[in-house]
């Protein structure tokens, strides 16, 4: 979606024609609400623009930075597990909008997986907006009663000796999974480690990406 940085309503054609799209019922409704809020001076166009930029700025890259640092620095990992919000602040990630934030550490014997069966609770400051599948009824139902089946669909088969712990985030707590550091990543820079940390690995439906054999260790 492109956004006019000035926040003003410009000439819709601005010099060249655009295809005409009929807005959906919900789109019309939200625009009507926006115009009312502006007209009644509840919010300004600048407020909307600031919020759009804030929402867009939050992405799984934040989470990947946290995970890569935790992999590279055991002391940081201890701080991340003990006080996740303070660890975020240390990395310049604003997690203050989260009421409570808990990091779940995966091990060889334990894998965590996060769902919100009631709606779509998600650690947005750390991971951005949730993917559509996270909000789907299918995921929300099956994450709790067949987590291994869900993981299998994401390409991960877990052995019977591994314990799966599903977290249904129903209240004020937001959860982030700290995936296992892939083997073969000794000597990787934090930047290279972060490339292995996918959004899905921080929701817990799969492990982080494997290190590609022969890839340069430092970039």
């Amino acid at each position: 979606m492109s956004v006019d940085p000035s926040g003003k309503q410009n000439d819709p054609e601005h010099g060249h024609p655009h295809p005409k799209h009929e807005l959906s019922y919900h789109a019309k409704r939200i625009y009507a609400i926006r115009e009312l809020l502006l007209e009644k001076k509840v919010i300004t166009r600048e407020d909307i623009q600031t919020q759009v930029e804030y929402q867009e700025a939050r992405s799984p890259a934040n989470g990947a930075k946290l995970v890569a640092r935790a992999w590279a620095d055991p002391k940081f990992k201890a701080r991340l597990l003990a006080d996740p919000k303070a660890a975020c602040a240390e990395m310049g990630i604003d997690a203050t909008s989260l009421n409570e934030f808990v990091v779940l550490e995966n091990t060889e014997k334990v894998r965590h997986m996060v769902v919100c069966t009631l709606c779509s609770c998600y650690p947005r400051p750390i991971l951005g907006r949730p993917p559509d599948w996270y909000k789907s009824l299918n995921y929300r139902a099956r994450a709790v009663n067949d987590p291994r089946g869900v993981m299998r669909e994401f390409g991960q088969e877990l052995g019977a000796d591994v314990e799966v712990r599903v977290h249904d985030s129903t209240a004020d707590i937001r959860y982030l999974v700290l995936p296992l550091r892939p083997s073969g990543t000794d000597g990787f820079s934090e930047q290279d480690l972060a490339k292995l940390v996918t959004r899905d690995s921080m929701i817990g439906v799969v492990d982080a990406l494997p290190a590609i054999p022969g890839a340069p260790k430092n970039s």
């Binding site: 409570e100 709790v144 009663n145 291994r148 591994v162 599903v166 129903t170 209240a171 707590i173």
Partner: protein
């Protein structure tokens, strides 16, 4: 976080209330009536059942991380070690 605020402590066995009523509820239907244990005391939070209607959510309610054995939640759940954890407010829990 206030570890001593609620009536339950980590390790206590609890049963989720099997109530049903209209309105905004944060206790998933599938877990009502099930027995688990308090894994962690999260602290006290405004009550979403009141916040959802524009009220103040006060008094704050203790919130717990409650653990369940998957095999005790679902019929035919195969992996015996697997667990489920849910954040549940104190007024939805009874001693078990």
């Amino acid at each position: 976080m206030n570890e001593s605020s609620g009536r339950f402590k980590p390790g206590d066995r609890v049963r989720v209330r099997a109530e049903d009523r209209p309105g905004h509820i944060r206790t998933p239907f599938y877990i009502r009536g099930k027995i688990g244990w308090v894994e962690r005391v999260h602290g006290e939070f405004r009550n979403p059942e009141s916040l959802a209607y524009g009220r103040d959510g006060l008094p704050k309610r203790p919130l717990y991380l409650v653990g369940f054995h998957q095999a005790e939640v679902w019929d035919k759940y195969a992996a015996p070690k697997d667990k489920l954890f849910i954040d549940i407010y104190e007024h939805w829990l009874d001693p078990a």
